[in-house]
């Protein structure tokens, strides 16, 4: 019995290994990672299962769309891109493991992936150790600048600071902070408190709830007791649904208590239910309704593949990452990591959110900040923008009030 069981098992283990060595022999260990043969392999690493799949699957789809577009135009350096899709399973060690696999076994030229800061922090040492390249497509808490990561989402001075500027401009002086209990909201709130202190704003309360928390009546009572002018919301995931449903049923709508959110995009609005969140504010760099021919083409192409789907900021940032990498590789004349990194500085493309330029020293991108209001149709309408792309400043060095943070 035992022997019978082991024989197929052994075969199953040995066969792929043998195939791998055979393939390795054929291509003869090229110096150019991922560029062996007629295709260039690129990794796509997002959570396709687990709690984060809600958001990450859509980013994977937009990255695949960008890869397809590039291939339709002849690929990169005359070679077609071949995506290798892996599932991070909403589990941070899995992200590190799969990153290692993509780099070592698939020998991909670069990886596009990650969503939560926890997954990025888990992958960071893997990419630094292997001197491989990661493109991270989501807004985050800043205070990081790895030489092996390009950040195509907003850092704090391109999202949170403009959000605060907007509230200040509207005369909202008393702010209540609500967030999920992990690194992004806690860091963001540290920045918000420093900003408030320097700008004569008052923080009436700062509350964190565990990820996945669904009971908000006590918190709503506390907010109603504090009587703030506005709430700054850094809740993440499903908690947002419970928070807005219970806030609304306690009688707080956008007119009575504006809430500025930084983790709610078009996709999330559908799950919260438009009546519960209509009129509330969000801060991002891109909306499906952002005007421009490039965005019209992007929305049309995406909806042609995914019927009834919406496009959101992180999806657009993922789509951008692929195009920016391809442009850098073309400019470098190679997909070799150091060459791409060098060529990437200063690359500027016309993308759905407008002009996007890579900042060489920080490896972040220039982005236009946009404040939006959630409309009756569930889409987000821009009510304010920074007009010009803002230079990324992940350590907030150019803001005197932020000198104590790090």
């Amino acid at each position: 019995m035992r022997k019978k069981f082991f024989r197929p098992l052994a075969a199953a283990l040995v066969l792929p290994a043998a195939l791998l060595t055979a393939c390795g022999g054929e291509s003869g260990d090229t110096a150019e990672a991922g560029a062996a043969g007629n295709t260039i392999k690129v990794g796509v690493l997002h959570s396709l299962s687990g709690t984060m799949s809600i958001s990450e699957v859509t980013v994977k789809n937009s990255e695949l769309l960008a890869i397809e577009e590039i291939n339709a135009k002849g690929g990169v350096l005359g070679k077609k891109l071949e995506p290798v899709v892996e599932d991070g399973a909403s589990d941070w060690p899995t992200f590190a493991q799969k990153a290692q696999k993509l780099i070592k076994k698939d020998k991909v030229a670069t990886v596009f992936g990650g969503w939560t800061s926890a997954s990025r922090k888990a992958m960071l040492p893997v990419f630094e150790r292997n001197k491989a390249l990661l493109w991270y497509p989501v807004q985050y808490e800043g205070l990081e600048s790895s030489p092996y990561i390009f950040y195509t989402g907003a850092t704090t001075n391109q999202q949170i600071v403009p959000g605060l500027d907007y509230l200040k401009e509207k005369g909202k002086k008393k702010i209540y902070l609500v967030g999920s209990d992990y690194v992004f909201p806690r860091t963001a709130n540290k920045i918000i408190k420093a900003y408030a202190k320097a700008n004569g704003m008052q923080i009436l309360g700062e509350e964190y709830t565990p990820l996945g928390h669904t009971e908000y009546s006590t918190l709503v009572n506390k907010i109603s007791d504090a009587k703030p002018d506005a709430v700054f919301n850094t809740l993440n995931g499903d908690s947002n649904v419970a928070f807005f449903k219970q806030l609304k049923s306690a009688g707080f709508d956008a007119a009575k208590l504006p809430v500025m959110s930084v983790s709610i995009a078009e996709e999330e609005v559908k799950g919260i239910g438009v009546p519960n969140i209509e009129g509330q504010l969000v801060a991002w760099n891109y909306y499906q309704t952002t005007s421009g021919a490039t965005n019209d083409a992007f929305v049309k192409a995406f909806q042609a593949k995914h019927k009834g789907a919406v496009t959101s900021d992180p999806m657009e940032a993922g789509y951008n990452a692929v195009h920016l990498w391809a442009a850098a590789a073309e400019k470098a004349g190679s997909v070799e990591v150091e060459a791409v990194k060098k060529a990437a500085a200063g690359i500027s493309l016309d993308l759905p959110e407008g002009k996007v330029t890579i900042d060489g020293p920080t490896q972040h991108v220039y982005k236009t900040a946009r404040i939006g209001v959630i409309g009756k149709d569930g889409l987000i309408k821009e009510v304010w923008s920074s007009k010009e792309p803002i230079k990324p400043d992940p350590y907030l060095k150019s803001y005197p009030w932020a000198s104590g943070l790090s």
Binding site: S49, I54, D238, S249, G271
Partner: protein, 292 residues
């Protein structure tokens, strides 16, 4: 002071939610001793039932869904009991693993059927308002959940004490062998008990659409709380579940008011652990002459 008073109805409504999600478990876990990790997914099935019925019931979907969800979740539970759990009676660890696996399968099934993002169930328009009593703010949706919890408790206690089938259920729970030799078909009673417990999870799921997210991982947010209520109240004790749910709701409401949500969770857990040190069987204990 006014906001402190507000915490009393809030505690009551948290307690009602806890009670509603735990009621089904008092049957399947409390009476039959099955650690059903898939209970949360039966709650999810109830919530998605309301979503599906929205197509033709429109704004009244929540109301229409209550009986339908009871039948659907009940049927799911019955199938689970018939095909799998009954082969594992008396093996709690195996049952735990089995039902945990089933819960993962059901979550993925929901993801494949309805997509990974949350869906929205519109609350009926007559549930969107609120009343103010002595400064306290009471949303209708919370009152509805409170009313539903009371209705379920009354219904169950009448059923358990007055109906023939309910008495059989209690007989099997108190002493399975004696019930069997007295002519009670214990297997059939088990089937029906599991159907009932799972069906109540479906009802809870419909109510939860009013206040929380409706998505594939919905069940995982409530399953731990449900077990806590049943364990603290005493296995199989309806009275215990009611008191435990209200006590935990109040404790949660006030500790969160004075501290924050994360710390409140820690305090509630610590309080339950301390309580179980003194009363490992929970608040109420079933006294039986059985030797087991």
């Amino acid at each position: 002071m006014e906001s402190l008073l507000n915490q009393v109805p809030i505690g009551l409504s948290i307690g009602a939610v806890l009670l509603l999600i735990a009621l089904g478990l008092t049957f399947t876990f409390g009476q039959m001793g099955v650690i059903n990790m898939a209970h949360g997914e039966f709650i999810m099935a109830g919530a998605y039932t309301a979503y599906m019925l929205q197509g033709w019931a429109g704004g009244q979907a929540v109301l229409v869904a209550l009986p339908v969800a009871f039948l659907i979740a009940g049927a799911l539970g019955w199938i689970l009991e018939r095909t799998a759990i009954r082969h594992f009676y008396g093996r709690p660890l195996d049952t735990l693993l089995l039902t945990w696996g089933v819960s993962l399968v059901l979550q993925q099934a929901a993801r494949d059927l309805f997509g990974a993002p949350n869906v929205q169930v519109d609350a009926p328009s007559w549930l969107t308002g609120r009343i103010e009593v002595a400064g306290a703010n009471l949303p209708y949706s919370r009152l509805f959940i409170l009313g539903l919890a009371i209705a379920c408790v009354v219904g169950i206690s009448v059923y358990m004490n007055r109906s023939r089938q309910g008495r059989r259920m209690r007989a099997v729970m108190q002493n399975r062998e004696l019930a069997a030799v007295s002519g009670v078909a214990t297997g059939r009673v088990d089937q029906f008990t599991f159907f009932l417990g799972s069906g109540l999870a479906g009802v809870a799921g419909v109510a939860l659409t009013l206040i929380g997210p409706v998505g594939p991982s919905l069940g995982t947010y409530y399953i731990v709380d449900a077990f806590l209520v049943v364990v603290a109240g005493g296995l199989g004790q309806l009275k215990g579940a009611v008191i435990a749910a209200l006590a935990l709701g109040m404790l949660n409401s006030f500790t969160e008011f004075w501290t924050d949500a994360s710390l409140a969770k820690v305090i509630v857990f610590a309080a339950i652990i301390a309580f179980l040190q003194f009363r490992p069987q929970g608040m109420f204990v079933l006294r039986s002459r059985a030797l087991t």
